[in-house]
Amino acid sequence: MSTNINFRRIVKLVRVVEENPRVKTFWFKDALCSKAKPGQFIMVWIIGVDEIPLSLSTIGDLCSVTVAKVGDATEAMHRLKPDDLIGVRGPYGNGFKIVKGRVAVVAGGVGLATLLPLVDKLKDYGCWIEVFLGFRSKHDVFQLARVERAVRPNGAVMIATDDGSIGFKGLVSELFETHLKRSKPSYDVVYTCGPPAMIRRVYELCEAWNLKIQASLEAYMKCGIGICGSCCIGPYRVCKDGPVFSAPQLRKMPELGLYKRGPDGVKIPV
């Protein structure tokens, strides 16, 4: 088998799990993906429909991607059943750097999927992990048991929902800010992934509280290999320089959380 990560592999879905009405997890076997680092992503070919970047939500003998229904491509993906085929290439991007110590993980919505392999790994390294999860409502919660398993007994899980149906009522960034003000914790790093506006707010909080941050960003992507320029934010290519960025890089992205770019490169307010 070739070791060129760019070569597309056709893999069979071995399992499809409905996490909640909007989110499904798709399981498959791929040797290169099973060697990926937490935070890396793959380009998934939904055959005959589209090819989209998706973070690996599990890295192991079996790997998975966890996908929210947000557009034509993801809706088509949600129609796939076990034994259906997808194409995968990658894993791509830098992934998270593991920091041993006391860490915070701030996840918004399906952004949690990107952080799941990281949380698994942080547990292996014996970190103290405080996880802040944000969802629209209790119906959108997914993979909570896995997160709780990873932080027990060395950490805590806190949940925020927009409607207050479970946990704190409000945004996860507000929950995180409340916690910072109340407990004045000294995290060695804050990991985050979620909607761009949420990441911007978490980044601002980290700047204000002098905390190191590793933020996984998303962008419209075509090539995934650093040449087409579709996914640039500031001077960086999300696919190649990211998707995980630190504070010095985020400072060079004035557009972060304010606008994104479409397939034509036109700015779209978020």
Binding site: M43, L85, K222, I227
Partner: protein, 310 residues
């Protein structure tokens, strides 16, 4: 960058009334969609940059998959995604005062569009020259232009009449006689040529029995097409006295030297960035210096066109 500055005298290129500090230019279609990344390419050592091909109106391009790595080269059918000229000029506005010329790549579906583009770009002094893309092999209405010498001459003439800047015409290898098309471009008033655009190609995924690209056909780039590009540069410069930018599969300093010896004035790089990253510019520049020094050449001007000796 002091290191780069010291080798500049050996490597600088003066052409089209412009000064390039070295012969390595970012090829059209690679990264050039936003200003900050173009700036980073220049800071990485590029002697000049060509932007993404820009049209009058925004274009989303083809659906994904649009880029596939075949190992020996890349197959792409991007489909000319771009934000449209007006939006893109706002983007480029932030790029004043850089140490490398900015070449705007443009395409047009009609000569009327060219007239409008010419008028708009003439007053825009961030752009040093325009590269006319008549050769994108995966967009209907563009790929045909480069195959027709009458159209090429007419397009170039129209653009030159309405644009007060040097015009470079990017030629297609997907023609039976590239010299005939090159002559037509020069007859129309082209100040320089770029050879070559990608080679029209396709590949099929045999596991699923479908073309690998959503757009079915694409353009092949990378090392696989380098000998084709070298041949085209040689053929054109054998017949015509016009500056030619060599483009196609360049990965090393030796590849650059090969293009220069074939008669290229300078070269353009693209696909190599997928594998080598933005470090490739400095790596190749150092390789060029080493090659020249080891063989006792004082500048790249001394190797240019060497292969044409009889």
């Amino acid at each position: 960058m002091t290191d780069l500055a010291s080798i500049e005298p050996m490597l600088k290129v003066e052409t089209l009334g412009l000064r390039f500090r070295n012969p390595l230019i970012l090829a059209a279609g690679i990264l050039g969609l936003t200003a900050p990344i173009l700036k980073r390419v220049i800071e990485s050592g590029a002697g000049g940059v060509v932007t993404k091909s820009i049209g009058l109106k925004p274009r989303k391009g083809h659906p994904n998959p649009t880029v596939v790595d075949l190992g020996f080269g890349l197959l792409n059918s991007m489909g000319l995604p771009n934000p449209g000229l007006e939006e893109f000029m706002k983007e480029l506005e932030t790029l004043r005062g850089l140490e490398a010329p900015i070449i705007l790549s443009i395409y047009a579906f009609s000569e009327d569009e060219l007239v409008e583009i010419g008028r708009i770009v003439s007053d825009f002094n961030v752009v040093s020259a325009v590269e006319l893309n008549v050769s994108c092999p995966h967009v209907d209405g563009i790929s045909e232009i480069a195959k027709n010498p009458v159209l090429v001459e007419s397009y170039v003439q129209t653009l030159k009449r309405h644009l007060d800047k040097p015009v470079i015409v990017k030629l297609s290898p997907n023609v039976s006689d590239i010299v005939r098309i090159a002559e037509a471009a020069v007859d129309g008033g082209a100040d320089a040529l770029t050879a070559i655009n990608t080679v029209r190609a396709m590949s099929i995924d045999i596991e699923v029995g479908r073309p690998v690209l959503a757009g079915i056909f694409g353009g092949l780039s990378g090392p696989a097409i380098r000998p084709i590009a070298v041949r085209c540069v040689y053929e054109i410069t054998e017949s015509l006295n016009v500056p030619v930018f060599g483009c196609g599969g360049i990965e090393t300093a030796h590849d650059v030297i090969e293009f220069l010896m074939a008669g290229a004035t300078a070269v353009q790089l693209g696909s190599v960035i997928a594998r080598g990253g933005l470090r490739v510019f400095k790596r190749i520049l150092k390789g060029l210096r080493d090659f020249l020094e080891e063989r006792g050449y004082s500048s790249i001007d001394e190797v240019r066109g060497l292969a044409h000796r009889r």
